[in-house]
């Protein structure tokens, strides 16, 4: 048991060490993108207000440090980051970090729900497909998953609104809770859950397909292994063989890929949030694009990359917990 803990600890250390250069890279890329952006926030604001004198522009630029040399701006950017600050948004006139942190929980809730739903349903469907390989449940589910794989999430969302909100009136079509309802306790949880169902389901369709196909392939691979025959020779029930022996091993590759998809899940959330007016990071990013506020946009890029890195480390841990052959220092 101590060995397991030790292994997990090593995996954690290794994951964090690997994350550092990646995060440095993300910061550099973000800064380069900021420099590449045509015109700055001062241009946009001045253009909108219509009172663009050279003086007011200069004042605006000085206020946001836009008049400094590139290297100085970069040092400032990094120094800010070191204090967990992402600078101040010219458009909202509040710290970027505050804007993002206010929206992050909603996005994580949406993402987590969608991921959980996709993992559970995807692994379940994949297990069924593998158990009935080349028979009709497998064939039908193969078509269904390929369809899920091909449908844009935002369109699924719109069609779901059409059916479940407009048509049947079962679920709310937007927002994350009933506004001004003043709900508390379980009523509030229930209310948020009702608002969550459609966006989470719409966001998860693609990933359900990914995990189902992957689980199917992994389980078929594992089913042919000698240790599965050993398990059958013990007289275990096929369901026990499928779960304890086959699925447990098949989960190792599935978790790896699940981790790889967290980034695309965040990207998908951006579109889904726009469809469902979900007050998360994605909507903020959309608003930032519309207002051409690159400091907010790049702040979101940095924060979402950090989310991906954190999830990567967690997936590594899960991976190590699932596969005892991973020793923590270098893949065994």
């Amino acid at each position: 048991m101590l060995g397991t803990l030790n292994r997990l600890l090593w995996t954690l250390v290794r994951g964090v060490l690997r994350a550092v250069p990646t995060l440095v890279g993300v910061v550099v890329v973000s800064f380069l993108l900021m420099q590449a952006a045509p015109g700055d926030a001062a241009d946009v604001m001045a253009g909108e207000s219509g009172t663009s004198t050279v003086e007011t522009m200069a004042i605006l630029r000085a206020r946001f440090g836009l008049d400094q040399p590139v290297l100085t701006q970069f040092v400032g950017f990094v120094a800010n980051l070191a204090h967990f600050s992402l600078g101040r948004s010219p458009r909202w006139d509040v710290p970027v970090a505050d804007l993002i942190l206010a929206r992050l929980p909603d996005t994580l809730l949406l993402m987590g729900s969608a991921l959980g739903f996709a993992v559970v349903l995807g692994i379940g469907l994949g297990a069924v497909m593998a158990s009935f390989v080349n028979r009709w449940p497998d064939r039908i589910l193969s078509v269904v998953t390929l369809l899920f794989y091909s449908v844009p999430g935002f369109w699924t969302g719109l069609m779901a609104i059409l059916i479940f909100s407009v048509g049947l009136g079962l679920l709310p079509s937007g927002g994350s809770q009933t506004i001004a309802a003043g709900l508390t306790g379980w009523d509030r949880v229930w209310d948020v859950a009702a608002h969550l169902v459609l966006p989470a389901a719409a966001l998860s369709t693609f990933f359900v397909a990914v995990y189902a196909r992957l689980t199917r392939a992994a389980m078929l691979e594992v089913q042919g292994q000698d240790y599965v025959r050993t398990a059958t020779a013990k007289g275990l029930h096929p369901i026990v063989v499928a779960t304890r022996h086959v699925l447990r091993n098949a989960l190792v590759p599935v978790t790896t890929v699940a981790g790889l998809h967290v980034g695309s899940l965040l990207g998908g959330a951006m579109v889904i949030e726009t469809v469902f007016s979900w007050p998360g990071l994605g909507r903020l990013a959309f608003e930032a694009v519309m207002k051409r506020d690159f400091s907010v946009l790049l702040g979101i890029l940095v924060v979402s990359s950090v989310v991906v890195v954190v999830v990567d480390v967690l997936v590594d841990l899960l991976h190590a917990a699932l596969d005892p052959r991973i020793e923590g220092h270098g893949h065994g």
């Binding site: 000698d226 050993t230 020779a233 007289g235 304890r244 022996h245 447990r248």
Partner: protein, 344 residues
Amino acid sequence: MIDPTAAARRPPLFALEGLEVSFPGRPVVRGLDLSVAEGETVALVGESGCGKSTTALAAMRLLPRSGRIDAGRIAFEGRDLAVLSPAELRDLRGRRLAMIFQEPMTSLNPVLTIGRQIAEVLIRHEHLSRRAARARAIELLDLVRIAEPHRRIDDHPHRLSGGMRQRVMIAIAVACRPKLLFADEPTTALDVTIQAQVLDLLDRLRRDLGMALVLITHDLGVVAQYADRVVVMYAGHKVEEATTAELFARPLHPYTRGLLAAAPRLDTGLHHSEGRLAEIPGAPDGGVDHPGCAFAPRCPEVRADCRVTPPRPLAIGDRLVACPPAVASAPRANAMRGAHDAVG
């Protein structure tokens, strides 16, 4: 080695009657009869591809999805395993019938501790609590001579050597004291030095637990040292069956003679590692286009009618040979008994 005549008198514990197994477009086992008495060690011998592993897998009903039992009875303790329901079958597997496989490196689940994998079968069949199963698992590890079982029990398979993994496989197989154990080339994948230890362990457990053992091997040295009786298979057919002593003293079927001739110095130093089957010209591809004997294309003593008439197994005393010409030229049963006495 128990007295073969005594073994023959006991009612068979396990019997295959006319077993036919095929994979798509390819028959693998053809009309095999085999009986195993309680506590007996029967060796199934033949070149790879002759259907000996398939026979054991079919008997356990563990054939891969594409394999089929086309005909035959698999009698065990008064029941026919070939028609048993999956639930009844599960109840027997791991409890009354067990099997160990050729590849210890891949036969254990890599993500579960060996303790868990041993305990699993005890919890399944003997309904032990987790704690009790763990205690029994430690005893079993000790029984199969794994040092420091208390520590080893929480190890995962990748930390164990091939020989140790095969010992764990044996521990799993004998955990519920089965009456019959199939050992499919149990030492082929192991170091020569480990092979004898594992086989001695199997033989000791067979004696102590009173199990019958079906030992599948291509190693004649192993056969000579551990088996009571030998069944020689060729291209899915049983070509010869005899007590070990009789077979080695006087092989009758040309194929058996070829096997023994290819294994040098068997009569001088019976060391199993040296008794490998060497070359008999040709390959047992099984694709014979005549109705006669499958071995005819490679047989040094082939006659014209061998290719025409399928060779029926004929009894000489208590042995069987599926080669009429060999039977015709064989000495009388009395002479054979004498040969047996001389060796045994």
